[in-house]
Structures are given as C-alpha cells and as structure tokens.
C-alpha cells in the first residue's frame, strides 16, 4: 500500500512539507469549485517533478457541467495528472467517451461505490435479516461482475472505497477482478448533498464560502426530528450510541472510520491508502 495525502483545496498544500515523490489526491467529492486548475498543478509539479498528482472530481450539476467538462479537457491535455476519480456518472461518461486512451487512469469515487455498511446503524437495520441477506447488504455496489465489466470496458481501472470490518470481503473480491483499490483510511462518507450546508450555515456564496469550507464543522446530535412524534425529541441512549459525530466539509458529511487500525493490518490488497490531510490537522485529532 502506498500512502497518499488527500487535499480538498489546493491552497491547503504546503509544498515544503511534501516528501519527494509524494502521492497526492486533490479535489473533492462534492464541490466543483475545489477542482484545481492547470496553473496550480503546474506549480505543484514544478516544486517536485516526481510528485504523483491524482484528481478527485465531484458530483456535477447541470449548471456546472460545462465548467467540469472544460476543466477535465484542460487537465487531461496538460499531462500533469496520473488519474481522475469520478463521483458522477455523467462526468465519467463524458470523459470516457471523449478521452479514450488518454494515458490517465480512471477511478470511480466513493459516491459511486458505496456499501450499506457505511450507514452507521446498518447493524440495526440488518438485525432480523438472514445471514446471507446481511452479507448482501454489506457488500459494495461494485461487488457485481457485470458492472465491473461495464466500467472496465469504459476504461475504469480502480475504485475508491470506504472500508470497514463489515465489508472487507467485498474489497477482496473487487481486487481479484483486477481493479486498483484506493482506500480512505480515516473517513467514511455519511451523506452528500447538492446543498452546501456549510455555505448556508455561514450565509455565504462562492467564492466567499471557500474560507469557511476549509474549516469543517463538527456536528453532535442533540435533538431528533421524529416522524412518529411529529416533532423534536430527545434521542434514546441506543440512538446516541449508534449516531457518530459528523464532520461536514461543504456539502459532504463524513465520520471517522472506526476500523482505521484494522485497515492498516490489511494493506496487501490496497494500492493507495489515503490519509485525509484536513481531518488530521490538530483541531481534528482523533
């Protein structure tokens, strides 16, 4: 397993602190405005020619589709990037169709490869199901030979996964089918939205939201909105135990992967183990 750093914002990268030949993933699963541009990547490459640059692209609304396509065209032709990770089928479809044999690897991101076990309370939802159904629910959506073939035929060579003890069997199978496995060691994605809750919270719009977004918010559940009671209630002790503390960066809600150490012990089938730079800053120390 090669360790890679994940930077959501290009501005977060401290060139002087990167080791020679570092591997960096830049971008974001949710926000188009965090896609780096060619000039920024040239700057990074200039600081160290051996640096390995990987791009993470977000879900893309129709409003921002042309912006995303133009950026992809520009970055692929720049020959600066080793891979592109897609979290949107539409942007992937465009790229696969227009940039065959680009020399850039195509990966599917965590928004497209998720597993039911990423739900923090999946054990509760699965509680009465038969064992084989529980296994089924805990697999990744990529545990499907037909789908793997479809995407391999379109040029996909790897997948990003949020891995935990419950879905590890699925990881092994995907790896055996020849896809590179990129695992995010620190975090699991709880939810993604088109609404940027952080921008809304601070009542700012792009580009003013950038500054706020570099400082993720931490959320602790205080009051549940209950459909049954048609209002807010105190969460029960059991609920308090299964609902984690969320970390919100822009429109993506993450939580800490409780199985971090388990993953480190199983690094053989993992090509890249991604460490989240933002959430490892002092204020987010585990």
């Amino acid at each position: 397993m090669k360790t890679a750093l994940f930077f959501r914002n290009f501005n977060e990268i401290e060139f002087s602190k990167l080791e020679k030949g570092s591997c960096v993933f830049i971008g974001n699963e949710g926000c188009i405005y965090k896609l780096p541009c060619k000039d920024e990547l040239q700057q990074l490459k200039k600081s160290d020619e051996t640096i390995e640059i990987h791009l993470i692209t977000p879900l893309v609304s129709q409003t921002n589709l042309q912006l995303a396509k133009d950026r992809i065209d520009e970055l692929i032709s720049s020959k600066l990037i080793a891979s592109i990770t897609f979290n949107d089928y539409g942007l992937f479809y465009y790229t696969a169709d227009n940039h065959k044999d680009s020399g850039v690897k195509y990966y599917l991101g965590r928004l497209l490869t998720k597993s039911f076990s990423e739900c923090p309370w999946s054990d509760h939802l699965n509680r009465n199901e038969d064992e084989h159904v529980q296994k089924y629910m805990n697999g990744f959506v990529m545990n499907d030979p037909r789908k793997i073939k479809l995407f391999q035929d379109m040029g996909v060579t790897g997948v990003h996964l949020s891995v935990n003890k419950k879905n590890i069997a699925g990881l092994n199978e995907i790896s055996e089918r020849g896809l590179d496995i990129i695992v995010h060691l620190d975090t699991i994605i709880g939810a993604a939205s088109r609404i940027c809750s952080q921008a809304q919270y601070h009542d700012v719009k792009y580009p003013d939201c950038k500054e706020k977004c570099e400082q993720p918010a931490v959320l602790k559940l205080s009051r549940l909105w209950s459909l049954k009671e048609d209002g807010y209630i105190e969460p029960s002790e059991e609920v308090k135990q299964v609902v984690p503390q969320y970390i919100v960066a822009g429109n993506i809600t993450y939580y800490r992967n409780p199985d971090y150490n388990f993953l480190i012990d199983r690094s053989d089938s993992i090509k890249y183990g991604i460490v989240d730079y933002t959430f490892n800053r002092p204020q987010f120390n585990r």
Binding site: S115, F116, V133, K147, G170, Y201, L221, Y232
Partner: protein, 317 residues
C-alpha cells in the same frame, strides 16, 4: 404530463386513482427480506403497519390501475445490489423472482436503483421497460445520456434541481424525464447512507431535519437544524415544468398518512388538467390551490418552494 402517486395497499390505490393519478408506484412484500424491502423502504413505518403488498393484492391493484388507464411502476430501488460471490446467485435469483412475479401480475415498468440490477435483468432477457430511480442521483444531462444509452426509458431527477437545469436536461431526446413535486430531504437520495424508514425499531428520526450542536473553529451553537433544507412544494412551477416537456410529476408520501398524500395528488392532478385545457400557469395553479385552500395555505406559508430561487437553492452546487 402524468401525476405519479405512491401506493401502499389496494385501498390507497383506489384513493390515488380517484384523486387523478395517471400512474402509481409500489413495492411488494415478497423477497429475501424481513424488515427491509426491495422498495427502498422498510415493510412498515410509523403510520402504516404494512407499506408493501403481497402477490394477490398486487394483482388486484394492477387491475384497478389498468381499469383507470393508469400505469404501474414496480419498485426495485433498494440502493444496494451486491454480494461477495459465494452467495451471489441465491440473492440474484431472489431478485429475478421478485421482478418476474411482478411481471406475471401485470406491472408496466420497473424502477431500478442500480446499474447492476439493470444488467442482471437484461442478462436474463427480461425485457420490461426500466426507469432509472432517484437513487442513481441524476443531476446532469450527460448522466441522462449514459442511462439512455444503457437502455433506460425514463430517468427520475434528484429532488434538488433548478427549472433552467430541467429545461436543458429535457432536451436530451429519446428518454422521458420525471421530477418530484413535493418533499425530499437535504441529501441526495442515492448518495446518502444515513438511512431511515428502513424498518428500524429505534426512532432514528430524520437525520437531515434533526438538531445538532455545531462546533466550528470560532463558535459552538447548540440545538441547531444544520441540514434543514427540505423543500415542500412545486405548485407554482408546474406550468413551467409542463411547458418544458417533463413527462411525469412524482408525488412522494409512503411514510405519511394516506389522506395527506391523496390531497396532494388531487391538487397536482387538477393543476395538470387545467394546463392541458390550455389554462395559463398561474390561473391553473390558483384554481387548483383554491380547491384545497386550507390544506395548501399551511404549506405555502412556509415558503419552502421547490425549483425557485431561495436561500436553499442559492446554496446549490
């Protein structure tokens, strides 16, 4: 434009069809699960002990819909479809059986949440029209083209769209576009793992409506509805959606009382009928609104309008 209504029983089908639904959608209780179902909900919820239906009720419901010239969409939109290989064939056969029983009962199309499910049906030469569920999180025209080229006949767009975006997406030829009329959470359905209404016995609430202590670098704010961006109604936008060629207006409501859903279906159906009668947008909207004024005033006063400029839509990425 058809209004598509949720159905959880034969009785609810009678009410939705009576309220003017041109299409209904439902899930069946047979399948591999106990609490969960292939319909992306649990088999029960807070208001209804059973929201999926058995084979004989399914047959009767479909017959009733067809007698009323309405189509039946069969839900197989559970967000996952995956299994490590050792036991895959067992669950895949269960899924095929689920769809096949639906076909034998007379369903008109299948709503699918995952590309793997679609490929499996085609591998088994099951040639029923397939519609791409909201769980595929479609928010741009390229994804619509991708799904069309795979063979999907209709795509349901995500809850969070703008009318200009829908207009551009409707220009993709050869595939129908469905949009939501009401409700919806803050997160993208297909990209949210904070599941609820999935057969839980704990009251997990709605994570995107719940309150949180919000800790930022500079402040701690207690009991704050951080995610609460739910948009309730699109009645003022129906004229535009109608004009741009949206094929189906989907009403949600399997988790609320049937009477509420029935009123919602009736109002939207009337609005569409008035538009079909060449009425202008606002007259059609106002007339539909006035026929159920007390009910709609409650929603309207909240100013949680779908598809229109607001603090929520301003924060769309």
């Amino acid at each position: 434009m058809k209004v598509k209504a949720p159905v959880i029983s034969l009785e609810s089908a009678e009410k939705m069809l009576g309220a003017g639904a041109g299409e209904i959608y439902l899930g069946a209780s047979f399948g591999a699960f106990k609490n969960i179902s292939y319909s992306a909900r649990g088999n029960s919820n807070s208001y209804n002990p059973q929201i999926t239906i058995d084979e004989s009720e399914l047959k009767e419901t479909i017959q009733l819909a067809h007698d009323n010239n309405a189509q039946v969409s069969f839900l197989s939109n559970l967000p996952q479809f995956s299994l490590p290989s050792s036991e895959r064939s067992r669950i895949e056969q269960n899924y095929i059986d689920y769809i096949q029983i639906g076909i034998n009962c007379g369903i008109d199309n299948v709503v699918i949440a995952d590309i793997g499910q679609y490929l499996l049906l085609r591998e088994h030469n099951i040639d029923i029209p397939c519609y791409a569920s909201v769980y595929l999180a479609t928010i741009n025209a390229e994804q619509v083209r991708f799904l069309k080229n795979l063979g999907f006949k209709r795509v349901t767009l995500e809850y969070h769209m703008l009318t200009d975006e829908i207009r551009e997406i409707c220009l993709v030829e050869g595939i129908d576009i469905e949009v939501f009329a009401n409700f919806g959470g803050t997160f993208l359905n297909g990209r949210c793992s904070l599941y609820h209404n999935m057969g839980e016995s704990l009251d997990l609430g709605f994570p995107c409506k719940s309150k949180y202590d919000v800790i930022t670098e500079s402040s701690v704010e207690q009991d704050y509805s951080f995610y609460d961006s739910n948009l309730y109604c699109s009645l003022c936008s129906i004229g535009k959606l109608y004009e741009m060629g949206v094929s189906t207006l989907k009403i949600t409501g399997r988790e609320i009382p049937i009477k509420v859903t029935e009123d919602i279906v009736r109002t939207y159906s009337k609005c569409v009928t008035y538009l079909e009668d060449q009425m202008d947008y606002m007259t059609a909207r106002n007339l539909a609104f006035s026929e159920c004024k007390e009910f709609w005033s409650k929603w309207c006063s909240k100013k949680r309008c779908k598809y229109m400029k607001s603090k929520v839509t301003n924060s769309y990425l």
